[in-house]
C-alpha cells in the first residue's frame, strides 16, 4: 500500500532539501518552491480524505515498521476521524500561510521558509504518530522552528516572547516525557511487554491514584499548549511578536495540539482520572471562556484581542471534551477546525492591516471600510464566523459543544453561553473601531485594497466558512465512529466495568480497592526493571 501518511509528513522536508540547493538571494524562487511544496502536500492530503472509510473508528492508512526494537519503539503512523481533519487543517492552512508571507517577510527569506516547512512536517507528524517516542520527537520538533519564527522574524519584544513561549512549553514537555516513561514501565509491569504503541495503552487499566498523577503531567503539557486558563499568558505575547504566518500557524494548528492531546491521550488512557478531574477542568475552561472574552474586550491591540479570543474559544473546546459525550466532543473537534479557519483568517486579516500600517493599535485605525471595501467584506465574514453566526462554520461547533455540555451539566452550559454574548461584544466593538466611522487618521486615507494574492489566500477561508456552516455533515459523519469509540471507552470506566479493547489486561473494576501499597510496589518493580535493562 502506498505510504500516504509518510508522504504527507515528509513532503515539506523534500521542499527543504530543494531550498537548500537554491541561492538565498533568489527569494522569489524560494517562495515558489515553498508554495509548490505546500500545494502538493495539500493535494496529496486530499487523498486521505477521499480514501477515508467514514464508517470505521479504526486507525486507517496505517504504516508500521519497527524502529528501535530493543525499546519497543516503532515508526507507527495512522489517522482516525479525529486526526484526519487535523492533518487536513494543517496542510490547508500551511498553503495559505506560505502565500501570505511573500511581502511580510523580507529578511532571511531562505531560513524563514525552511523553518516553516520543517514546522509543517513536525505538525503533521504529531497528528499521525501512534507511537509515543515518534510522537514526542515530532512534538519537540515543532518547538524549534516556532522558537526561531518568533525569535528571529518577530516584533520588538520578540526575545521576551520567545523565551516565555519556550519555557512554558518546555515545562509541559518535560512533565509529559516523565509521564510517558512512567506509563511505559507501568505497562511492562502489567504485561511484561515493552511498547510505545499509544493505542495499546487504551486498554491498560491503572489504579486511580497513579492515573491521576500521570494524567496531571499530561494535562499540564496540553493545558499550556491549548492554552487553558491560567496557563495562557505566553499566548498573547507570542502572538503579538510573531510574524503573521507564525500567528496563523500558532492559532490555527499549534493550539489544537493541546486539545488533540486530550482526545488522543488523556481521555482514553486515563478515563478514571479524566472523570474525577472533569469538574475542575470544566471550571477553569469556563473561567477561560469568560475571562478570555472580558480581557479581549479590554485590549487596545488587535492581535492581542484575537489572541485572547482564542483563549475563550478554546475554553469551549476543553469544556466540550470534558463533557464526555458524543455531541460535546464532536462539537469540540468541529470547533478546533473552525477556530483554525476563523482565527487563522482573523490573523491573516490583521496581518494585511499590519503590512500596510505597521501598527496594531486599534486607535490608529477607523473608517477602513471606506478605503478598503473588499477587505471590509472579507473581514466582516471572518468576524461573524468567529462569533458563531448560524450558517457560518463557527455556529455548528459552538452549538454542539453547548448542547453536549447541557446534556451533562446545565449550569456549565448556561455559564458558557454567556461567552457567546461577550464574543459578539468584543469582536463587533473592535470591528466598529477599526472599520467604521470617518477616516480620521491621515495615514489611512490611501491604503490599497486587497490585491490578488491576498484575495487568493482569504477567499478559500471565506468559502470554507460557509461550506462548513451550511453542510457540516460530511465532517461530522467521519468524526462520529471515532468519537463514539472514545466516548465508549470513557463511559465504560465511568460505569466501572472492565476496560475496553481487544484484550483486557488487568481488571479495573476493583481498581478503587487497590491500596496505596500496591502502587508503591509496582513503582518499585519498575525501578528494578529499568536498572536491569541498563
Amino acid at each position: 500500500m502506498f505510504p500516504i501518511l509518510s508522504t504527507i509528513t515528509f513532503i515539506p522536508l523534500v521542499g527543504v532539501l530543494a531550498i537548500l540547493m537554491v541561492n538565498g538571494k533568489k527569494e522569489g524562487l524560494i517562495r515558489m518552491i515553498t508554495l509548490a511544496t505546500g500545494v502538493v502536500d495539500f493535494i496529496v492530503s486530499i487523498g486521505v480524505y477521499t480514501g477515508f472509510d467514514p464508517a470505521s473508528h479504526q486507525m486507517q492508512f496505517v504504516e508500521r515498521v519497527p524502529w528501535i526494537p530493543s525499546f519497543g519503539a516503532e515508526y507507527y503512523l495512522g489517522v482516525d476521524g479525529i486526526s484526519l481533519f487535523m492533518v487536513l487543517l494543517t496542510t490547508f492552512t500551511c498553503v495559505l500561510c506560505y502565500l501570505s508571507t511573500w511581502t511580510a517577510v523580507e529578511k532571511n527569506v531562505k531560513e524563514f521558509n525552511i523553518a516553516m516547512l520543517v514546522l509543517q512536517t513536525a505538525m503533521i507528524g504529531v497528528f499521525c504518530a501512534l507511537d509515543f517516542v515518534l510522537f514526542y520527537v515530532f512534538w519537540e520538533m515543532m518547538l524549534i522552528p516556532m522558537y526561531l519564527l518568533i525569535g528571529v522574524w518577530g516584533g520588538k519584544r520578540r526575545i521576551y516572547a520567545t523565551v516565555k513561549f519556550f519555557v512554558y512549553t518546555m515545562a509541559g514537555s518535560v512533565l509529559m516525557l516523565f509521564a510517558i516513561l512512567a506509563l511505559y514501565y507501568e505497562y511492562h509491569a502489567a504485561t511484561g511487554v515493552y511498547t510505545f504503541d499509544i493505542l495499546k495503552y487504551y486498554s491498560l487499566g491503572m489504579n486511580k491514584t497513579l492515573q491521576l498523577w500521570l494524567f496531571l503531567c499530561f494535562f499540564v503539557a496540553f493545558a499550556i499548549k491549548v492554552p487553558v486558563w491560567p496557563f495562557h499568558t505566553w499566548l498573547p505575547d507570542a502572538h503579538v511578536e510573531a510574524p503573521t504566518a507564525g500567528s496563523v500557524i500558532l492559532a490555527g494548528i499549534l493550539l489544537k495540539m493541546g486539545t488533540y492531546g486530550f482526545l488522543r491521550f488523556s481521555l482514553p488512557i486515563f478515563p478514571d482520572a479524566s472523570i474525577s478531574a472533569a469538574w475542575w477542568i470544566s471550571g477553569i475552561a469556563i473561567i477561560g471562556i469568560i475571562y478570555g472574552a472580558l480581557v479581549a474586550m479590554a485590549q487596545e491591540d488587535v492581535k492581542k484581542l484575537v489572541a485572547y479570543s482564542s483563549v475563550s474559544h478554546l475554553g469551549f473546546v476543553v469544556l466540550g471534551t470534558f463533557a464526555f459525550n458524543l455531541r460535546g466532543i464532536e462539537g469540540g473537534i468541529l470547533q478546533m477546525i473552525n477556530h483554525g479557519i476563523s482565527t487563522g483568517a482573523l490573523f491573516l486579516a490583521v496581518g494585511i492591516l499590519y503590512e500596510r500600517r505597521h501598527t496594531r493599535d486599534i486607535s490608529e485605525y477607523g473608517g477602513i471600510t471606506k478605503v478598503m471595501p473588499k477587505f471590509a467584506v472579507v473581514f466582516m465574514i471572518v468576524t461573524l464566523s468567529s462569533i458563531g453566526l448560524p450558517l457560518t462554520n463557527g455556529f455548528i461547533g459552538e452549538f454542539l459543544i453547548l448542547l453536549g455540555v447541557f446534556e451533562s451539566n446545565v449550569t456549565y452550559a448556561v455559564l458558557a453561553s454567556t461567552g457567546v454574548i461577550l464574543g459578539a461584544v468584543y469582536m463587533l466593538w473592535m470591528f466598529q473601531r477599526v472599520m467604521f466611522g470617518e477616516v480620521t487618521n491621515e495615514k489611512n486615507k490611501n491604503l490599497p485594497d486587497l490585491n490578488k494574492r491576498e484575495l487568493a489566500y482569504m477567499l478559500p477561508l471565506v468559502a470554507l466558512v460557509f461550506i462548513l456552516g451550511v453542510y457540516p455533515n460530511p465532517v461530522i459523519k467521519r468524526l462520529e465512529p471515532s468519537v463514539k469509540n472514545l466516548v465508549a471507552i470513557v463511559n465504560k470506566a465511568k460505569n466501572g466495568t472492565a476496560v475496553v479493547g481487544e484484550s483486557v489486561l488487568r481488571p479495573t473494576a476493583d481498581s478503587g480497592a487497590r491500596s496505596g501499597e500496591v502502587v508503591a510496589l509496582s513503582v518499585g518493580n519498575q525501578t528494578v526493571n529499568s536498572g536491569k535493562r541498563d
Binding site: 450558517l391 448542547l403 466598529q432
Partner: protein, 641 residues
C-alpha cells in the same frame, strides 16, 4: 406537493449573492432587476403556495418541504426543512408582500446613494433570513433566521458606517439581540434534552405528556420569551430599537416596524402549545407586553425626532401583541402583526418621504404645514395614523379592539385598563406628530423651503398600496358576525390543538359586551386626538406652559427615563472597567505573569549566586577546599554522634 417552497426562501438570497458579488460592476437597472426580480418572484411563489395551502381542507393545512439533513450528530438530526401552515403563511405573505413594496420604494429613496447595490444586497439578505425564520420547520432553523435578521439589522442600521452614531447603534442592536438569543439557544437546548428533537410537531406532541405548569415547560417558555424581548424590543431589552432609527428609513419600515421586530410574536405564537402549558410564562408575557405598551407610549409623547416617535410607537404596539399572546389571544396578536405591518410601514415610508423632501431633517420642530407641499404623502400618512389610533373602520381599529376585547374577556381587567390608557396616549402622540409635521404654520428653514417637493411616483406608489391595505386590512378580522372573521377561521386550527383553557379566550365574550368595548376604545382614541388638537393646533402656548410647569417629569420622559444611562452605569461600564483594570492589568499581568516571570528571575538569581563560586582564581578554589575539609573534619570529630 410544496416541493418548491424552499425557492420562496432562497430566491432573495440569490438576489443578494448576485448583487453582493457583481453589484458594483453591474449597471443600475440590472441591480434593481436582481433585487426586485428575486423578491418579486418570491412573492408570486408565496401567493401560489398560499393558494395551494388554502385549497386544502382546514384541518390538514400543513405543507412540509424537506431539503437536506443539515446537522446529524448522534440522535440529533436537524433537517433543512420548510413548513407552510396558516401561521407561517400569514407571515410569509406579509414579509414577501411588504418586503417587495419596500424594495420598490427603496429604488426611489436610495437613488442618490453610491453604494445602493450594497443596500439591496443587505435588504435581500434580510428577506432570506426573515423567511428562514418564519418558514423553517424546526427551532434551529428559526434560530438561523433569527440571528440572520439580527445580522442584517446590524448591517443596515450601520449602513452609513462613517457616521459614528450609526455604527454604535448597529452594534448596540446586535449585542442586545444576542442577550435575547442567549435565552433562545438555551431554550433550544432544553427542548432537545427533554424531547430529543427540535422539530416543531414532534416537540409539541412530546410536550403534551408533561404536566401543565411544570418546571421544564415553564423554563423553556420563559427562555424563549427572553429571546423574544430582545428581537421584539420589549422591556428590558427595548433600548436598541429607537437607536436603530439611525438606519435608512426603508430599513426602519421593513425591519424595525413591519417584519423583523414581529419575529418574537411569531415565535410565541409558533410555540403556543408550549406557552399554553406554562401559566407563569403566559402571565409574564402578558404583563411585560402590557407594561411595554404603556411605558413606550409615554416616551413617545414628547420626542422631537419624527422617526423616534414612530420607533417608540412600534415598541408600544409590539407590547400589545405580546399582551394578546399572554392572554391566549394568539389570533388577535397575529392579526395586529398584519395590520401593524401595513400602517406602520406606511407611516415610516411616509416619514421617509418627508425626510427626503426636507433634505435629511428629522426634527419635527423644524417642520409644519407640509400638507400643501406633499399631498399624497399627507393623505396616506393620515390614513395610517387613523389606523394606528384605532379609528373605525381602519385596520388598526379591528385588530387593537380584538386585543382589548380578548384581554377584557379573559378577565385581565388591570391589563385591559392599562392598555386602554396606552391606546389613548397612542392617539395623542400620533396626532401630535401629524399636526406638528403637516399642519400649523411652517417652521421650515428658508433654504429647505424652496426644495420641498412631493416624492416621485415610485415612492408614493408604495404609500398608496400600504394605505389601501391599512384601510381594508381590518375586514379580514371582522368581529361580531359568526363566520365572517376570516382570519380567525384560518388561523384557528393552528392553535386549536393546544390544550389549556386560555386558548379559548377569544370566544369568551358576548355581543353586547363586545359592542360596548368597541365604543369605549373608539372614545378613548377620539379623546386622545382632541387633546392633541387642542395643544398643537388650537392653543400651542398651553402646551409650552404645561411643559414648563412640569419640567421635571417632562425631562424624565423626554430623556427616556434615563434607561440607557442606567444600563450603562449598571452593566456596560463596570464590565469594561473590571475587565481592563482588574482582569487584565492585575490578574493577567501582575499575578499570573508575575508568577511566571518570578519563576524565571528566581532561577536567574540562583544562577547569579552560584556563579560567584566560579571566580576562576585558584586561591578561591583552594580556600573553598580547605574550608570544606575543615567543616567535614569538624563534623566527624565533634558533631558526629
Amino acid at each position: 406537493m410544496g416541493g418548491y417552497i424552499w425557492l420562496i426562501v432562497v430566491l432573495p438570497l440569490v438576489g443578494a449573492v448576485v448583487n453582493g458579488l457583481l453589484g458594483e460592476r453591474l449597471p443600475k437597472p440590472l441591480v434593481y432587476f436582481a433585487a426586485l426580480g428575486s423578491t418579486g418572484l418570491s412573492f408570486i411563489l408565496a401567493v401560489v403556495a398560499f393558494m395551494e395551502l388554502v385549497s386544502l381542507p382546514p384541518a390538514s393545512r400543513v405543507m412540509v418541504n424537506n431539503v437536506y439533513d443539515w446537522i446529524t450528530a448522534g440522535n440529533l438530526n436537524v433537517e433543512a426543512s420548510f413548513l407552510l401552515d396558516p401561521l407561517s403563511g400569514l407571515w410569509m405573505l406579509v414579509v414577501t408582500g411588504v418586503g417587495f413594496v419596500i424594495h420598490l420604494y427603496s429604488v426611489g429613496y436610495m437613488s442618490h446613494d453610491k453604494t445602493y447595490w450594497k443596500f439591496f444586497t443587505y435588504l435581500n439578505l434580510f428577506m432570506f433570513s426573515m423567511l428562514m425564520l418564519v418558514m423553517g420547520g424546526n427551532y434551529l432553523l428559526m434560530f438561523i433566521g433569527w440571528e440572520g435578521v439580527g445580522l442584517c439589522s446590524y448591517l443596515l442600521i450601520g449602513y452609513d458606517y462613517h457616521r459614528n452614531a450609526a455604527a454604535v447603534a448597529g452594534k448596540k442592536a446586535f449585542v442586545m439581540n444576542r442577550i435575547g438569543d442567549f435565552g433562545f439557544i438555551l431554550a433550544i437546548m432544553l427542548i432537545f434534552v427533554n424531547f430529543g428533537t427540535v422539530d416543531y410537531h414532534s416537540v409539541f406532541s412530546h410536550a403534551e405528556k408533561l404536566p401543565v405548569g411544570g418546571m421544564t415547560v415553564t423554563a423553556i417558555t420563559l427562555l424563549l420569551f427572553l429571546g423574544a424581548t430582545g428581537k421584539s424590543a420589549q422591556i428590558p431589552l427595548f433600548t436598541w430599537l429607537p437607536d436603530a432609527m439611525e438606519g435608512p428609513t426603508p430599513v426602519s419600515a421593513l425591519i424595525h416596524a413591519a417584519t423583523m421586530v414581529t419575529a418574537g410574536v411569531y415565535m410565541v405564537c409558533r410555540s403556543a402549545p408550549l406557552f399554553n402549558m406554562a401559566p407563569t410564562a403566559m402571565t409574564t408575557v402578558a404583563v411585560i407586553g402590557c407594561a411595554t405598551a404603556l411605558f413606550a407610549a409615554t416616551i413617545g409623547l414628547f420626542q422631537k425626532d419624527i422617526k423616534r416617535v414612530l420607533a417608540y410607537s412600534t415598541v408600544s404596539q409590539l407590547g400589545y401583541m405580546f399582551m394578546a399572546c399572554g392572554v391566549g389571544a394568539y389570533v388577535a396578536a397575529a392579526f395586529h402583526v398584519m395590520t401593524h405591518a401595513f400602517f406602520k410601514a406606511c407611516l415610516f415610508l411616509g416619514s421617509g418621504s418627508v425626510i427626503h423632501a426636507m433634505g435629511g431633517e428629522q426634527n419635527m420642530e423644524k417642520m409644519g404645514a407640509l400638507k400643501k407641499h406633499m399631498p399624497q404623502t399627507y393623505w396616506t400618512f393620515l390614513i395610517s395614523t387613523l389606523a394606528i389610533a384605532g379609528i373605525f373602520p381602519f385596520a388598526g381599529f379591528f385588530s387593537k379592539d380584538e386585543i382589548l376585547a380578548d384581554t377584557f374577556g379573559s378577565g385581565h381587567l388591570v391589563l385591559w385598563g392599562v392598555a386602554a390608557v396606552a391606546a389613548g396616549l397612542t392617539a395623542f402622540y400620533m396626532f401630535r406628530l401629524v399636526f406638528l409635521t403637516f399642519h400649523g404654520e411652517s417652521r421650515v428653514d428658508h433654504e429647505v423651503e424652496h426644495h420641498l417637493h412631493e416624492s416621485p411616483f415610485i415612492m408614493t406608489l408604495p404609500l398608496i398600496i400600504l394605505a389601501f391595505l391599512a384601510t381594508v386590512g381590518g375586514f379580514l378580522g371582522m368581529p361580531l358576525l359568526e363566520g365572517a372573521n376570516v382570519l380567525h377561521n384560518f388561523l384557528g386550527p393552528v392553535f386549536a390543538g393546544a390544550h389549556g383553557a386560555s386558548a379559548h379566550a377569544e370566544a369568551a365574550h358576548n355581543v353586547g359586551e363586545e359592542v360596548g368595548l368597541m365604543v369605549f376604545s373608539l372614545a378613548v382614541a377620539i379623546v386622545g386626538i382632541f387633546v392633541a388638537h387642542h395643544f398643537f393646533i388650537k392653543d400651542k402656548p398651553a402646551a409650552e406652559r404645561i411643559q414648563k410647569k412640569y419640567s421635571g417629569i417632562h425631562g424624565l420622559i423626554y430623556n427616556k427615563y434615563y434607561v440607557d444611562e442606567i444600563y450603562d452605569f449598571l452593566f456596560t461600564r463596570p464590565i469594561v472597567v473590571f475587565s481592563r483594570e482588574v482582569l487584565h492589568k492585575v490578574v493577567d499581568v501582575q499575578i499570573i505573569d508575575g508568577f511566571v516571570n518570578g519563576t524565571g528571575s528566581f532561577f536567574a538569581g540562583l544562577s547569579r549566586f552560584a556563579k560567584r563560586f566560579q571566580s576562576g582564581f585558584v586561591r578561591d578554589y583552594a580556600f573553598t577546599m580547605v574550608l570544606a575539609f575543615v567543616l567535614i573534619a569538624g563534623y566527624y570529630l565533634f558533631g558526629g554522634k
